[in-house]
Amino acid sequence: MRVALFITCVNDTLFPDTGKAVVSLLRRLGCDVDFPQAQTCCGQMHVNTGYRAEGVRLARHFAEVFDGYDAVVAPSGSCAAMVREQYPRLGVQAPPVHDLSEFLVDVLEVEDVGAYFPHRVTYHPTCHSLRGLHLGDRPTRLLRHVRGLELVPLEGADECCGFGGTFAIKNPAISAAMCSDKVRNVLDTGAEVLCAADNSCLMHIGGTLRRQKTGVRVMHLAEILDAR
């Protein structure tokens, strides 16, 4: 299967390791992976902050770049949700974008990707994966098949971490308050690693975990699934 990777501008620039993990994982599962190099950004930041004209321009570019692929895989719930939910409203034809876990479980029909990761992990589902894409338990089903991994439940998992793109800058006090509650719940689990399928949320929670010198690491789902 010919799969196009939408790596997202945030991952491309700040978290290339996530992208590399996705490539390695999909190749291992027999996919023919392509990275259309003309890709940039889905337009989420612009649209969600109220810059519709710029957002639509980026969305049109996106649609052009990914035109003609059987499947587009993105390691970001919120960017996948942006394309699927908002493109139709913006009058842009949406390419068939899947979040990584959706693609693995629904399209490739695998839950055991053969990973080995002997650590105590807790999972934060992230709002757009949860309520935008309705990923349900797909990510945790994948994690449960990882050998050596102990998955511990996260209290208040479905509550927003307070990132919200530019919200974190426009409403810093509320954003920080939400994040410190999230961090408290993460610490209560006793996990070594906080996992999610969206690096933006992890950047926000991870940045707070680091500032507070907690020693808890954050990792993208793809990186855990690619661990051997």
Binding site: N11, T13, R52, G164, I174, T208
Partner: protein, 462 residues
């Protein structure tokens, strides 16, 4: 107590103060989480909740589409039943109508049933200016009124108060409160009951809102949980109801859907304790219905924003909103706080003030509000739509324009990435300007040596 409109500041500033208040944070968290849990349980009991929700949405949409027709039908039905109908274009007109009606009775005191519409127009304050005292009879509203305070929740206006605070307010402001009043909920409720009973028996004029109006029969419907509203609705000689024009339902049959949706969404109860209906003037009572527009027809004209008029004020969206939970209702500077307030208030009032322009941003777009809304208002969709209409700050506009330019072409993005990684060691730990909001509480991620696209190019070439 002054009118809520025109509160200074904006949402970020107001809420930044609120998050510092640990008592407020505790009260809000406890109250919203309790009711959130109750709602989830009783909603989970209904196998056809999704269908009910779709029905609620469809009925409201249909009514709004034919609002002109149904309003005329309602007016005729009310008049046929001996009631009088008054049309109010805005707050000033509604206040004048109500004040004149009260004056005609010669009374200087009125009792009130909890009503958002009258708060929206600042009726109590207007009446006070004309020598008429309005007494709130809903327990929570009474607490807010006695405490010279503003409501901070649609359904639980005193949600920000705990019981010891309430006891203090009663002792200080409620003339007939027993001196040995404890902070037991039962004792507080009893004190309020005795206080209010006196009022009910004395009052000749009452002012109410309505949760629903039935076009076909001209019936008004109020749902409440204490029974105080029913006393107000039945005892006084004159009843004046101020109702927003969007509260209409075409027929009695439609009500059935909402009598299931509303109590489960709002109080987490299967059925509402007191549901009162009245049609026109009944024996010994004169009835006036004041139909309030106050910006609603403008909202109706907006293709995306009009869905806010489906709202049945259940407050489920407030109770799940993580932003409301930390900011509290006052930060929204409106009688409609929380997610619904963030989309309704700026639509009713316009985006002119700093506060109203900041409200569409008072959300992370997490979608929890949309998920619980019993009439499926896609609040995030409306928020994003409103954000596109707000005048943006200049620095932000410049920044977003640059970002848009860089992201428009992959070569520009690649160049920016190379630049960032070249100077990765020079990125300061604390960022300047508006970006300092990020580094105040969080560490920035390290900028990688190589972007993904560079890695790909290098590997694919090899």
């Amino acid at each position: 107590m002054s009118v809520f409109i025109g509160m200074p500041g904006d949402f970020p500033a107001n809420s930044a103060k609120a998050v510092q208040n640990s008592q407020l944070r505790f009260n809000l968290r406890k109250a919203t989480h309790t009711i959130r849990g109750k709602r989830a349980t009783v909603v989970g009991e209904l196998p056809d909740w999704a269908e009910l929700r779709a029905a609620g949405k469809a009925i409201k949409d249909h009514t709004l589409r034919h609002l002109d027709r149904y309003l005329v039908q309602l007016e005729e039905a009310v008049q046929r039943a001996g009631g009088q109908v008054h049309w109010a274009r805005d707050a000033a007109e509604a206040n004048r109508i109500v004040t004149d009606l009260v004056r005609q009775t010669g009374e200087t005191e009125v009792v009130k049933v909890k009503s958002m519409a009258t708060q929206e127009i600042g009726l109590n304050e207007h009446l006070a200016e004309h020598g008429i005292t309005a007494y709130e009879t809903d327990l929570a509203e009474l607490i807010v009124q006695l405490g010279d305070d503003f409501p901070s929740h649609i359904l639980v206006p005193a949600i920000h108060r705990n019981r010891s605070e309430i006891r203090e307010i009663f002792l200080a402001k409620m003339g007939d409160a027993p001196a040995d009043l404890t902070d037991e909920p039962a004792a507080l409720a009893e004190a309020a009951r005795l206080h209010l009973r006196e009022r009910f028996l004395r009052s000749k004029v009452a002012i109410s809102g309505a949760n629903f109006m039935i076009a076909e029969t001209g019936t008004c419907v109020v749902l409440e949980s204490e029974g105080n509203g029913r006393m107000c609705l039945t005892l006084p000689e004159t009843l004046i109801s101020v109702v927003g024009i969007e509260k209409l339902l075409p027929t009695w049959r439609d009500l059935e859907v909402f009598l299931q949706l509303l109590p489960r969404s709002s109080t987490g109860e299967r059925m509402n304790p007191y549901t009162s209906t009245w049609t026109g003037s009944t024996e010994g009572q004169t009835f006036h219905l004041v139909l309030l527009d106050n910006g609603r027809t403008n909202v109706l004209a907006d293709e995306v924003g009009r869905q806010a008029l489906r709202c049945i004020r259940c407050s489920a969206c407030l109770n799940v909103c993580p932003v409301y939970e930390r900011a509290g209702g006052h930060a929204y500077g409106s009688v409609y706080p929380g997610p619904i307030g963030a989309i309704l208030t700026p639509q009713l009032r316009g985006l002119g003030s700093d506060l109203d322009a900041s409200l569409p941003y008072a959300s992370t777009l997490c979608g929890a509000c949309f998920e619980v809304c019993p009439v499926a208002i896609d609040i995030p969709e409306v928020l994003v739509d409103l954000r596109a209409k707000v005048a943006h700050p200049r620095a932000e506009r410049a920044g977003m324009r640059v970002a848009g330019w860089v992201l428009a072409k992959e070569v520009r993005l690649a160049k920016a990435q190379r630049l960032a990684s070249r100077f990765r060691k020079l990125v300061p730990k604390r960022l300047p300007g508006p970006l300092s909001a990020w580094t105040d509480t969080r560490d920035l991620p390290d900028i990688p040596k190589e972007s993904f696209r560079e890695w790909w190019a290098r590997n694919e070439r090899a």
